[in-house]
C-alpha cells in the first residue's frame, strides 16, 4: 500500500502513544515496586528514584507471600499435569481414530470450557465439604484440571492432525507399540505445540480467582486469593510493597504469555481462529 510518508509517521506516532497509554498502569506498578515507601507516595510523583529491592524483601519475608506462591505452584503444575495425562490420550484417540460421535464430542468438550463457574460452584462446594476436599490441594487440582482439559484436547488434537498419518503407520510397521509411537514419533513433532499448551494452562490456572476464593480458606489458597486481600485497607502491605507483591505475581504469567504469542490466539479461541 502506498501512503504519504507523513501520514505513515503520524500513524506510527499514534501507535506508540496508545501503547504507552495502555501499558502505563503496568509500568507504573513496576516502577512503584522499586521505590522506597516514602517516595512512592510523594506529590508530585517521581518517575525515577534510586531503586531499592527492599519492597520485594519485605513482601517475601515479612508477609505470607511465599506460602501462597508455593500453593499456586503446586496446584498449577499438578493441575496442568493431570489435564495433560487425561487430555493427550483423548486428543490422540479423537485425532487418529475418529468415530461418528467425535465431532459432537469435541464441541461438547469445548462447551464445558464456557460453562459459567458460578453455575456449578454451589454443588462443588457442598460435595467438597462432604468429602473433605475444601481448602485442599487435591480439590483445587481436580477442578483446575477440569478447566484445562478442553484446552489440552483442542490444541493437542489440532497439532496432531498436522502430523502426516503415514509417519505413524511407518512406525507401526517397524513394530512400534503405542508408547514408542508416542515418545519416538509424535512427541518430538508435538513438542512446540505441547509447550504452548502447557504455558496457556499455566496462565489460566495461575490467574483463576472465583473457584479459588470459594473453595479454599487459607491452607490451599493460591496467590490470587492473597492479592485480593489487599482490597481491605491495603491488606498486609502498603503501596510500594503491594506493587512488589503484585509485580512478582504477574511476572511469570507475562513471561509465559510473551513466549506463547504465536499460539495465543488459537489457544484463546480453542482453535476457532488460527
Amino acid at each position: 500500500m502506498k501512503r504519504l510518508p507523513l501520514s505513515g509517521a503520524v500513524l506510527t506516532g499514534l501507535t506508540y502513544l496508545l501503547t504507552l497509554l495502555i501499558f502505563f498502569p503496568i509500568l507504573w506498578m513496576v516502577l512503584t515496586s522499586f521505590k522506597p515507601e516514602q517516595l512512592a507516595l510523594v506529590v508530585p510523583p517521581r518517575i525515577f528514584v534510586a531503586p531499592t529491592l527492599e519492597n520485594y524483601m519485605v513482601a517475601f519475608t515479612a508477609s505470607p507471600y511465599l506460602e501462597f506462591l508455593w500453593n499456586t505452584l503446586v496446584i498449577t503444575l499438578l493441575a496442568t499435569l493431570l489435564a495433560l495425562v487425561l487430555g493427550v490420550p483423548a486428543a490422540y484417540a479423537m485425532a487418529y481414530y475418529p468415530t461418528r460421535r467425535t465431532n459432537g464430542t469435541m464441541l461438547w468438550i469445548m462447551s464445558t470450557r464456557m460453562l459459567p463457574p458460578a453455575g456449578v460452584i454451589v454443588p462443588l462446594y457442598v460435595i467438597f465439604r462432604d468429602i473433605h476436599w475444601l481448602d485442599t490441594y487435591l480439590g483445587m487440582i481436580v477442578v483446575y484440571a477440569g478447566m484445562n482439559f478442553p484446552l489440552v484436547v483442542w490444541m493437542i488434537r489440532s497439532f496432531m492432525l498436522e502430523v502426516p498419518y503415514g509417519i505413524l503407520e511407518a512406525a507401526r510397521l517397524d513394530g512400534a507399540n503405542l508408547l514408542q509411537e508416542f515418545t519416538h514419533v509424535l512427541l518430538p513433532l508435538l513438542l512446540p505445540g505441547l509447550a504452548a499448551t502447557v504455558l496457556l494452562c499455566f496462565i489460566f490456572t495461575w490467574n483463576e480467582f472465583f473457584l479459588a476464593v470459594n473453595l479454599t480458606t487459607r491452607q490451599a489458597s493460591p496467590l490470587s486469593v492473597y492479592i485480593a486481600s489487599f482490597k481491605a485497607a491495603q491488606g498486609d502491605l502498603f503501596v510500594a510493597k503491594m506493587s512488589a507483591a503484585a509485580t512478582a505475581t504477574v511476572l511469570p504469567v507475562i513471561a509465559a504469555g510473551w513466549a506463547t504469542q504465536r499460539q495465543l490466539v488459537a489457544g484463546l479461541t480453542l482453535g476457532a481462529v488460527k
Binding site: T19, P89, I203
Partner: protein
Amino acid sequence: MAKQSAHEGRKWLSAPGILFLVIVTQIPFVLTLYYSLRGWNLLRPDSDVFVGLRNFSRILSNREFYTVLANTVVLTLSVVVITLVLGMILALLLNRPFPGRGLVRTLLISPFLIMPVVTAVLWKNILLDPVFGLSAYVVSLLGLPAIDLIAQYPMQTIILIVSWQWTPFVMLILLAGLQSMPESILEAASLDGAGGLTMFRYMILPHLQRFIEIALLLETIFILNVFGVIFVTTSGGPGIATTNLPYQIFLEAFSRWNVGRASAYGVFAVILANILVLIFLRVIGSQSEQEA
C-alpha cells in the same frame, strides 16, 4: 485415512478424560438443577426440603433480580462495544510495518495476561485511590477537585478496568483476521483509487466479519463471568449497584448460605451462557463449512 483394525481399540483412549470431564462439570450442573428445587440453607440443615419452583418465583418477583440482570447486561455490553472499537483501531495500527512492531504487540497484550485480581488492586489502590493514587495527582494538576472514582462512578470504573483488560483479546483476534487477508487484493483496490475508508468499509470489514463474531461471542461468554474485579473494587456495591450475576450467586451462596436460591441463580447463568455458546458453535460451524 487407512486404519489397522488391530488398533481400533485405541479410540477408547479418550474415555478416561471424557469420564473425568463429565464428573467435574456435568454432575455439578445436574446437582445445581436439583438444589434449585430445594429450600436448603446451609445454616439450617432441616431446611433441605423440596420446594418446587419457589426459588425461581421468589427470584423473578424480586426487584433485586432485575437490577442484577441489568448490571450484568450493562457491564458486558459496554465492555464489548468499547473493546471492539479500541481493539479494531489497535489491530489496524498494528497491521502495518513500523519500527518496534514486535515490542509494541508484546506490550499491548500484557493487560490480558495479568491476573484480574492484580489488575483490580493496581487500578484501585495504586492508580485510582483518591488520596494516594496517581489519578489524584493528575486531577490536582488539572485544578479539578479530588474525586473518588470508584465511590462516585463504580460501574463506569469497573467498565474501564475490564475494558482495559479485554481490549488485547479483541485486538489479537482481529489482527489475526487482518493478517489472513491477501495483501494483493488491497493493493489492487488502492491502485483502483479506493481510499482508506472505502477499503475499510467494503473490503476489510466484510473479511473480518467472522473474526468479529468470534471475538464478540467469546468475550461476552467470558465477561458474563467477571468476578475478581468486582470483588476487589466495589464488593458489588454501593448497595447492589455493581452486583452482576456471578457476584449475586457468590453472595447468595457464601454470605447468605442459601443453597437453593444460589442454585436457581446458577441455572439462569448457565442458560444465558448456553444460548451464547450455541450461537458461537453455529458461527464456527458455518465457518468450517465455508473452508471445506
